[in-house]
């Protein structure tokens, strides 16, 4: 869309006068720097066109102004560079984790680990005895692997958490060969498993109690552990499972930590250690305390036809997450629906308040 025409349309929709100068500058900057790169747009569509459609759905000027103010002051958009930066930041944490494990095993202070040859050797061994597993495509295992070339080998990274028997055997075989080649006195077992994901809002994707399941648990972490139980010979005893999210909400932290501890109680062979790269504070949520006008708008501007069996009501986001977060590759469903939900234009009868998204969400669960 022609930038000049788009800016003119936006200024008309928001009835801008002298403030247009500063708003245009802001829109040009943010669309170039962040929003145009959103991967959920349809072909040929960019941020300006999406914003125009989003604002147009509000018939009252006050609502348009409220929506625009939310976009400017409250929305949190993680660009690819920002997430990649969080991936870069993960290695120091991995290193500290292994240093601490070596220090504990050898009964020495952590600062000595890299300074003395015996502990340094043990560090190298434990690093090779580590497995890095992506829990989703958002884990950016490609970036992580390239970022740590020379530190970890390709055979230590896995892009999916459901690992086949053949893959387990192959990984252990390569670990055994590496130990033999290096003439290390070590067992060919994995001592550290790093489970990596990009984002969690409620923590339920990672771990939740589920009475309908045989084991009483569901989520990526229980699935991985239960599957790993069939490969105990390939794992050390105990086996450290470090679960890391690049971005998480404070709420999810509060949910994951006690559940992980409870789960570990049932599977003592595994020592579970959840960590988070960046914690989003609750002040970024959409609530009457943080942005009342927008909260009122999402309350009244809602179309129930956007709900699915899985999602249920998304007015305040999935599970009432109330998030204001958008990731460059997709918008989390815990983010309030007004940002991402879209009314099917073929639906009959037409809803009273059809919804147009600002950042269209690609849905995995239909």
């Amino acid at each position: 869309m022609n930038e000049q025409l788009a800016l003119k349309t936006i200024s008309e929709l928001l009835k801008w006068d002298s403030e247009a100068r500063d708003e245009f500058a802001w829109l040009k900057l943010l669309s170039t720097y962040k929003y145009d790169a959103y991967e959920g747009y349809e072909p040929g569509m960019r941020f300006y066109a999406s914003l125009i459609g989003w604002l147009k759905q509000f018939s009252v000027m006050k609502d348009r102004k409220t929506a625009y103010a939310f976009l400017k002051q409250h929305l949190v958009f993680f660009s690819r560079q920002e997430i990649t930066h969080l991936v870069h930041r993960y290695w120091p944490l991995v290193q500290r984790t292994i240093v601490k494990a070596v220090a504990d095993d050898m009964g020495i202070p952590t600062w000595k680990v890299m300074a003395e040859s015996a502990s340094r050797l043990e560090f190298d061994i434990q690093l090779r005895q580590s497995l890095f597993v992506g829990l989703s495509d958002g884990a950016k295992m490609d970036v992580f692997r390239r970022d740590n070339e020379g530190r970890i080998s390709n055979e230590q990274t896995v892009v999916a958490h459901e690992i086949s028997e053949k893959k387990w055997s192959s990984m252990q075989g390569k670990l055994a060969k590496a130990i033999k080649d290096a003439k290390w006195n070590a067992q060919p077992v994995f001592k550290h498993i790093f489970l990596i994901d990009d984002f969690t809002a409620s923590g339920t994707s990672l771990i939740r109690e589920e009475l309908e399941e045989e084991c009483g648990w569901d989520g990526k972490l229980p699935k991985f552990i239960i599957q790993a139980k069939d490969h105990l010979s390939k794992l050390s005893d105990p086996c450290q499972v470090h679960v890391h999210h690049y971005i998480a909400t404070k709420f999810s932290e509060g949910s994951i930590l006690p559940l992980a501890a409870k789960f570990q109680g049932q599977y003592p062979r595994f020592k579970i250690d959840p960590t988070f790269g960046l914690l989003i504070d609750e002040k970024f949520n959409v609530s009457p305390e943080t942005c009342k006008e927008f909260y009122d708008l999402i309350t009244k501007h809602y179309d129930p036809s956007v709900e699915t069996k899985t999602s249920k009501c998304v007015k305040y986001g999935y599970k009432e997450g109330l998030l204001s977060v958008v990731l460059e590759h997709n918008t989390p469903n815990n983010t309030v629906g007004l940002i991402w939900a879209e009314t099917n234009d073929r639906i009959e009868p037409k809803p009273a308040t059809p919804m147009t998204p600002l950042f269209r969400r690609r849905t995995r669960h239909m």
Binding site: Q4, L7, S11, E12, W16, S18, A20, R21, F24
Partner: protein
């Protein structure tokens, strides 16, 4: 959307096709005025200016690529004036460029040589070898970039034996180039070594003589694939020389001032190391054992001589540059709005009617309190009407002018007795309503009623204070606002006086807030002190300084003792002058005394609401300035 106003530094423009359309001839013409090509191409020339005053643009203009482009585009109306200025100077002839210049910015690499752990003579050798080899390579590259084949280039050298020539530079073009590559690589190897080479190793490396600049006097070149041989005078332009260490700078000057050099050589620098251009020149003249004489040994060019001609030239240049930039912006081209003055209102609707009434009340109150007769007030009103009426000025200006004249009248007549009858005495000096009174009236109205003062194309140009970069920064704010109006298809995209005033004030205030150069806090304290004093004086009811003040004056004799009496203040002034916060006028004659004026720069003037007119100053002493920057008075 492309906005060239934000490019500002000419280094950001990749080639002459992007660079030349944005260059105005006016500042070039101004810098070169009173200087012939012979004068500037035979001996060492310094170009002095503050940051952003156009030194690099000036130097880049003389690069071979620019001159070739201008030569080819000489009939293009956009380049006609520029090409003429350069032809008059002798940089371009009918057959093509007459100069082959190498512009070498003195980046960190050169400066780092002075940090190496060697004797100064060794460092000097390394520095000059690098400078000379880079100069030769830049010449070679400039010619090959214009597709001049090696066999179409001949070098003209001094009359030395071929053996000597081969040793110190090269007797052919190929030899000149291969020697330069070799010497550059040797020096590069030394300055980028992880562990410094030993003094012995360096001594071996530097044993071979290398002095190509002393032996090359010209190039005989066949340009544009023709058989016509053009003579090119070699030239070295050392850009940003202020980046060098002071003793390195002296070495460079000693080297380039040599009379045996037959090439043109210019040094472009700020006068950071001195508080004024004059002092800088004086310092240069006393450098070296033999002494140097301005005119005999070197020439000095100034980007701003602080004269009226510069103000006029700068206004023209600002208009010209703005038009060129606007032509590069599609939205302005499409709407045919490429003349800056046509986009900026040059009139102001004045203060509100209620404020006019308030002002009228103040005038009447003054008539009463100053004990002026109605008849005299009427006469003064007639004076105002005849001047302001001819200028078509609104009521608020007339009232403010009358108020100033009433106070002047009161000052020029004997004091009246409080309870005696009012006497209509003749003033000691005749009163008149003129441009000075009108300017003061406008200033008073800005401070008292918030009437816009900074508006119109000339005022915008003046806000740059002779500094193109500063002008572009301010203009960018206004242009962006006009652009937003054009996007919204506003019928009237003219920027009102009120909008201009507000935007110009904002950019000045914000820029000063963002200062981060050395000692910026003290500089800010200094300009705030001068600014407040100047406002105080400018706002006196009789406006005895006419336009108002924007400077602080101390006796020249006190200023000369500054380095000894107040060394900290000297350092603060040094940075204030280097970063356009103020300029120093070393000798200004007034009231039978010689003064040194500290005149505020464009943004400080705007921040404090002062006039751009020069000459008005507040009298004071060095000690007050010293106290103003937080110095403890002993």
């Amino acid at each position: 959307m492309y906005n060239p106003f934000r490019k500002r530094a000419s280094e950001n423009l990749p080639n002459s096709d992007a660079f030349l359309p944005l260059v105005s001839h006016a500042p070039v013409e101004y810098i070169l005025q009173n200087h012939s090509g012979d004068d500037l191409l035979e001996k060492l020339a310094f170009l002095l200016g503050t940051p952003g005053s156009g030194k690099t643009t000036f130097g880049r203009l003389f690069e071979f690529e620019s001159l070739m482009t201008l030569h080819h585009m000489v009939t293009n109306p956009s380049f006609k004036n520029l090409a003429k200025v350069l032809s008059d100077f002798g940089a371009i002839s009918e057959s093509g460029p007459s100069i082959l210049a190498a512009r070498l910015p003195m980046d960190a690499e050169y400066r780092e040589i002075w940090e190496l752990p060697y004797d100064e003579s060794v460092k000097r050798g390394l520095f000059l070898n690098l400078l000379q080899s880079r100069c030769v390579l830049t010449w070679c590259n400039a010619l090959s970039d214009q597709s001049v084949a090696d066999n179409a280039i001949g070098i003209v050298t001094t009359r030395q034996s071929p053996g000597a020539l081969g040793n110190i530079g090269g007797s052919s073009f190929e030899e000149l180039r291969s020697n330069a590559v070799e010497f550059e690589s040797t020096v590069y190897d030394v300055i980028h070594a992880l562990v410094p080479r030993s003094a012995n190793q360096i001594a071996t490396m530097l044993t071979r003589p290398y002095d190509p600049l002393s032996c090359v006097t010209g190039f005989a070149v066949k340009l544009d694939h023709t058989d016509i041989v053009t003579f090119l005078k070699p030239m070295l332009i050392v850009d940003d020389a202020h980046e060098l260490h002071s003793s390195q700078f002296s070495s460079l000057t000693d080297f380039l001032i040599r009379r045996d050099l037959k090439m043109a050589r210019w040094i472009l620098t700020r006068y950071d190391i001195a508080v004024s251009a004059n002092e800088w020149i004086q310092d240069q003249s006393t450098e070296g054992q033999a002494g140097r004489q301005l005119g005999r040994d070197f020439t000095v060019l100034l980007t701003n001589q602080g004269d009226l001609a510069h103000k006029r030239a700068f206004r023209n240049a600002a208009q010209d540059i703005a038009s060129r930039y606007l032509q590069e912006m599609p939205i302005f081209m499409r709407s045919r709005q490429t003349k800056l003055s046509a986009l900026l209102a040059d009139t102001c609707k004045g203060i509100s009617p209620s404020n006019v009434e308030k002002l009228r009340g103040k005038v009447n109150a003054d008539i009463q309190s100053l004990r002026i007769t109605e008849e005299r007030a009427g006469k003064l009103q007639t004076l105002v009407d005849s001047y302001a009426g001819a200028e078509n000025e609104p009521e608020d200006i007339k009232l403010a002018m009358l108020r100033i004249l009433l106070h002047r009248y009161a000052k020029r007549t004997p004091q009246q007795e409080l309870f005696a009858e009012i006497i209509d005495a003749e003033p000691k000096r005749e009163l008149s309503a003129d441009a000075g009174v009108m300017s003061a009236a406008k200033l008073h109205l800005m401070h008292e009623f918030g009437r816009p003062y900074y508006y119109g194309a000339d005022m915008l140009a003046d806000s740059g204070n002779g500094n193109i970069e500063q002008f572009l920064r301010t203009a960018d704010e206004l242009i962006t606002t006009i652009e937003s109006k054009l996007i919204r298809k506003k019928q009237n995209c003219l920027l009102s006086a009120e909008e201009q005033h507000r935007l110009i004030k904002d950019v000045a205030t914000n820029t000063i807030e963002e200062w981060d150069f050395p000692m910026h806090k003290q500089v800010r304290m200094l300009i705030d002190f001068i600014g407040m004093k100047a406002v105080e004086v400018s706002m006196t009811p009789n406006a005895y300084l006419d336009h108002g003040a924007n400077a602080y004056g101390v006796l020249r004799s006190d200023f000369q003792k500054m380095r000894v009496d107040y060394p900290e203040l000297t350092t603060v002034l040094h940075f204030a002058a280097a970063y356009n916060a103020l300029s120093i006028i070393p000798s200004y004659h007034c009231k039978n005394e010689t003064w040194t004026l500290f005149q505020l720069g464009g943004y400080p003037i705007i921040k404090h609401g002062l006039p751009f007119n020069k000459g008005g100053f507040v009298e004071g002493g060095m000690r007050s300035l010293f106290t103003a920057i937080g110095g403890a008075v002993q």
